[in-house]
Symmetry: C2
Subunit: 330 residues, 2 copies
Amino acid sequence: MTDATPLKPHERLAAALRDDMDAVNALIRTRMASEHAPRIPEVTAHLVEAGGKRVRPLLTVACARMCGYAGADHVKLAATVEFIHTATLLHDDVVDESRQRRGRPTANLLWDNQSSVLVGDYLFARSFQLMVETGSLRVLDILSGAAATIAEGEVLQLTAARNLATTEDTYLRVVRGKTAALFEAAARVGGVVAGVDAAQEDALTRFGDALGVSFQIVDDWLDYGGAGDGIGKNLGDDFREGKLTLPVIRALARGDATERAFWRDALEKGKSEDLDRARAILARHGTLEETRQEALAWRDRARAALAELPPNDLREMLGDLADYVVARAE
Amino acid sequence: MTDATPLKPHERLAAALRDDMDAVNALIRTRMASEHAPRIPEVTAHLVEAGGKRVRPLLTVACARMCGYAGADHVKLAATVEFIHTATLLHDDVVDESRQRRGRPTANLLWDNQSSVLVGDYLFARSFQLMVETGSLRVLDILSGAAATIAEGEVLQLTAARNLATTEDTYLRVVRGKTAALFEAAARVGGVVAGVDAAQEDALTRFGDALGVSFQIVDDWLDYGGAGDGIGKNLGDDFREGKLTLPVIRALARGDATERAFWRDALEKGKSEDLDRARAILARHGTLEETRQEALAWRDRARAALAELPPNDLREMLGDLADYVVARAE
């Protein structure tokens, strides 16, 4: 890293919270161990050490410190959040039959589906053990609720795929399950452990939710090439998997019979060769631009919620993080 | 049911605790619902309503009442235990690629692996929400620990399969993960919610563990036809799946080079056509009879632990249950 490369917001947060994040990473390594089943730390390390950005545990640690927390339980909660995230990634890759994650072969490919399912279960159980150690029933309530919302959202995504009748309401619920529920819980428990009042807890909840929703909407926008440069990661994955995301749901509502037939063939029947035509239809109805605007609106909500929290350097960095999440769409 | 058909011990327990078990079943139905993802109650109902014996929730309710509990939280804990059990069944059937469970097609066959993985995750999360409602961190600690032991045991079973070097120590760990950990936790939390002292909690823990171990050892014995009538359910499943169970581990240790070659071909390489030869080898070394004796010894431990608990009708029925579990091997 030279002076010429300015740090990104999550990197600045990680630098400002280095001691905390070192403790989180050490705890993750300790708790992913299993004396008797070496397969468990092998599979977990493959994913945990693949260089993820640790955004969720950073949120927990940053929110706790922003709210003046001086204890050590936020480290346990941050590790908890990363374990839940890792467990869902392991299970998602089995569900989606994915072959790549973070630029490396997935665990289900390197080992097998069985290991991914069972190691995910182990991490989920370990995350609850960690939570119990904090002695906070409030925290347990929040994170077990988030885990239920995540699983429900994933099931909803599974049953909504290839279904042209999917509504924007269902879409938002899937978005919350995939991404926003854990962002929200991560931010909120940081405040709870710091002993914030109800108003601040509510602000943290809205901040985490809005940050997660904007993040996921940008992802869905990029899947269709976003503004049109065509360099979005995994361009067309959602299209091929028949996922009903916001730009498609809105274009469907406005399309004529020919377009509806196109979407039916592509999404319901899986004849998804013509991504260019899909992108042209979305562009014609302006729904890619609307989707971008939605992401920006959720970013604004995240920033508005932050404004109700204690003003300090960490708050500023969290605001920059909200900008950074949607910068891919600006 | 006529007078001529005496009730089995678990049926007598269910009859004696009918109001409690009705409440448990009602709570299970309420909590397995999902307003937005109907796939969740569909999959859960398929399994939950397939007529399982509800042994684990019965244990929780019976242990709580045996210890004098007069409140209502044992119902939540019993539903929790059944949800954890159901979640592990859903995931096990994916891991084992099973096609039948409780005489019906498995969920992974009727729907798909994705639904089984995600609905299992949902039930697991819901089970933790239920536990949190009891407000007992002790209970959360016990059940999250059990969940970790279960997942670890399943991973261990996966990596120990087809490995002739598997030890009796590993075997017992797998048995605890598959069966005894949840039996133990189910019995123990019944006592915890009833406010028993440390000595009684320890007795409940030993009772649940020994009951579960004896249950699983009998299962493993029956898989090779037990005493030789050959009517054990799923006769030879473990043999074909290359599982190293107690009778095989002991026969391997005493076999000559020819026998070791047979086991290597059958268990490591999957050439498991000759179940009769396997059974003959086990019989020659007497390891089926030893396995049966092990199950009876664990039954005796379960009964010895029970003797330390309050003497009443429920205790007597739990003792009968311990006998019943191994009666298949007597």
